[in-house]
């Protein structure tokens, strides 16, 4: 962006030549203008210049600041500031290069993102669980390696550990099996109900398992001090740590599994309740009251709608027939003529101008220039459809012909015209 600075002298020269007055007069005028604006501002007024903008005063509160070099606090006194608010006319003139752009809502994309996030949330616990399972397996193998290393390891202790390892592994396999069942047999609701029962059973199952583990731990801990006398010391605290972490892990698993099962169970339940469109009654009878209530509501509404709907339908159909077929009254005719104009395929024979596409050229800008509204670009596109492959990306050098349009079609003051153009826009863009 090259920014040339224009001084007041240059402005004076330009104004003098434009208004064909002497430079001295122009200079005097400009001085007076600035002085009177200043005076107005000093009097505490808002000064407005037509088609340019308004000047007003804004009070800036005193604030504290810090001297960058010394670190001392300084108080910046409050002061008045001249604020310039450009007039709508000036705003539009300046913003011409970007006038064709419009704010775009991105809510459709966010919805998609939400869906993806939900999916991730569903798959996350499974992945987490798998990771933990492998981690624990590694820990167990480490323990086994350690115990085999220690020279006078008790065979009894080994067995205990193996039992723990087996138990843990069986838990792992049990749970993973359940997971697989869950995900694979999502076919019937009965299965889910079964799972819920299983879940409850498991609920009762877990505490004993953990208690067993604790017992084992105690055994090991009791045995170890005896060995300590002749075996190397560092093994015991290490083992203890691992045991306690295992215990914690078991608790974490059980909680995780319960959570997961309940989430997937309710999820599947909700999914099916919305899916089974009351068509297969086998499942409907099995499901709880929620659906039966909605079913009842549905049937109730069903009693009322057959009576009401046909009436409204016939009404809506009859009205247009009447107006089009029998009406020759002038009241409705102008509206119809526009409608006909909209509905008829437009034929482009006359052209007002032609333009070659350059860097930065846009149909919307052309439309704004020739028709007064950027929404009417669709008609330019229609007239040049054979040359334009994609209205968003036209090859540079393409000769675009601007068609002569029926003034009723591009009536800027008529909201219907703009509506129609927007309709066409949606058709061509999507």
């Amino acid at each position: 962006m090259n920014k040339e600075k224009i001084s007041s002298q240059e402005i004076i020269d330009l104004v003098a030549s434009k208004a064909s007055v002497s430079k001295r007069a122009a200079e005097e005028f400009l001085k007076v203008m600035i002085v009177s604006v200043e005076e107005g501002l000093l009097a505490g007024e808002v000064v407005k210049i037509k088609n340019f903008g308004t000047f007003k005063l804004q009070w800036n509160e005193p604030r504290k600041s810090v001297n960058v070099q010394t670190g001392d606090e300084i108080l910046i006194t409050g002061y008045y500031k001249v604020v310039f608010v450009p007039d709508a006319v000036l705003k539009e003139q300046v913003n011409e290069p970007f006038a064709h752009l419009e704010p775009v809502e991105l809510d459709i994309q966010t919805k998609k993102n939400e869906l993806i996030i939900e999916e991730e949330a569903v798959s996350d616990p499974l992945r987490l669980f798998n990771e933990q399972a492998s981690e624990i397996k590694n820990l167990i193998s480490e323990i086994q390696a350690l115990s085999s290393k220690s020279t006078n390891a008790d065979p009894e202790k080994k067995i205990d550990k193996e039992i723990i390892a087996e138990k843990e592994q069986t838990i792992v396999t049990d749970v993973t099996d359940q997971e697989i069942e869950e995900t694979s047999t999502d076919d019937e609701l009965q299965v889910i109900i079964d799972h819920e029962v299983e879940l409850n059973e498991e609920n009762q199952d877990y505490p004993p398992v953990t208690i067993d583990n604790e017992k084992d731990n105690y055994q090991v801990q009791l045995e170890i001090p005896e060995e300590d006398l002749n075996s190397d010391l560092p093994t015991t605290p290490y083992l203890d740590n691992i045991k306690s972490s295992n215990k914690r892990k078991v608790w974490v698993w059980s909680l995780l599994i319960l959570l997961l099962l309940s989430i997937s169970g309710t999820g599947a339940y909700l999914y099916y309740s919305s899916q089974s469109d009351f068509s297969d009654k086998n499942s409907a009878t099995k499901i709880s009251e929620k659906i039966s209530i909605t079913e009842i509501l549905n049937t109730i509404s069903g009693w009322f709608t057959p009576a009401a709907k046909p009436v409204t339908k016939s009404k809506t159909i009859v009205i247009p027939k009447d107006t089009t077929a029998f009406d020759s009254i002038s009241q409705i005719q102008p509206v119809d003529s526009i409608q006909i104009l909209f509905d008829n395929p437009r034929v482009y024979t006359d052209f007002i101008a032609s333009e070659r596409i350059k860097e930065g050229s846009r149909l919307t800008i052309m439309s704004k220039r020739y028709y007064g509204n950027k929404d009417f670009w669709v008609y330019i596109y229609e007239a040049n459809k054979d040359k334009i492959m994609n209205p968003d990306n036209i090859a540079i050098g393409t000769l675009i012909r601007i068609p002569k349009l029926d003034p009723r079609l591009i009536d800027v003051s008529n909201p219907r015209c703009i509506e129609k153009a927007k309709e066409l826009h949606d058709i061509y863009i999507n």
């Binding site: 962006m1 600075k5 005028f29 009177s36 007024e45 088609n51 008045y80 310039f84 300046v94 966010t110």
Partner: protein, 96 residues
């Protein structure tokens, strides 16, 4: 002070008819806006600078509906007062 009042006060100072002042004011405004459209900075001695600045596109989120909207870039006119004007304004006492 609106446009009419400004013209009246200027006419009084210049000893010129209002119509002439109005015409001159209009031409000044059009020349200024033309220069601004050409992306030039206008500096009025002892008053301030007018310049065009580009506001980059941004993403705004509606606070209640959470709808995200892409606001396109735009060009706006910016005015910065000169220090001379700022000093003059210091004389006004602030009462609020």
């Amino acid at each position: 002070m609106n446009n009419k009042e400004l013209i009246a006060s200027m006419a009084l100072k210049m000893n010129a008819p209002k119509s002439v002042v109005a015409f001159l004011l209009e031409t000044t405004v059009t020349t200024c806006s033309e220069l601004l459209v050409e992306n030039k900075t206008i500096g009025f001695q002892s008053f301030g600078n007018f310049e065009v600045r580009k506001k980059e596109e941004r993403l705004s989120v509606h606070p209640s509906t959470q709808i995200r909207t892409l606001i396109p870039p735009k060009l706006v006119v910016n005015f910065k007062q000169s220090t001379i004007l700022k000093d003059k304004l210091k004389d006004i006492s602030h009462h609020e």
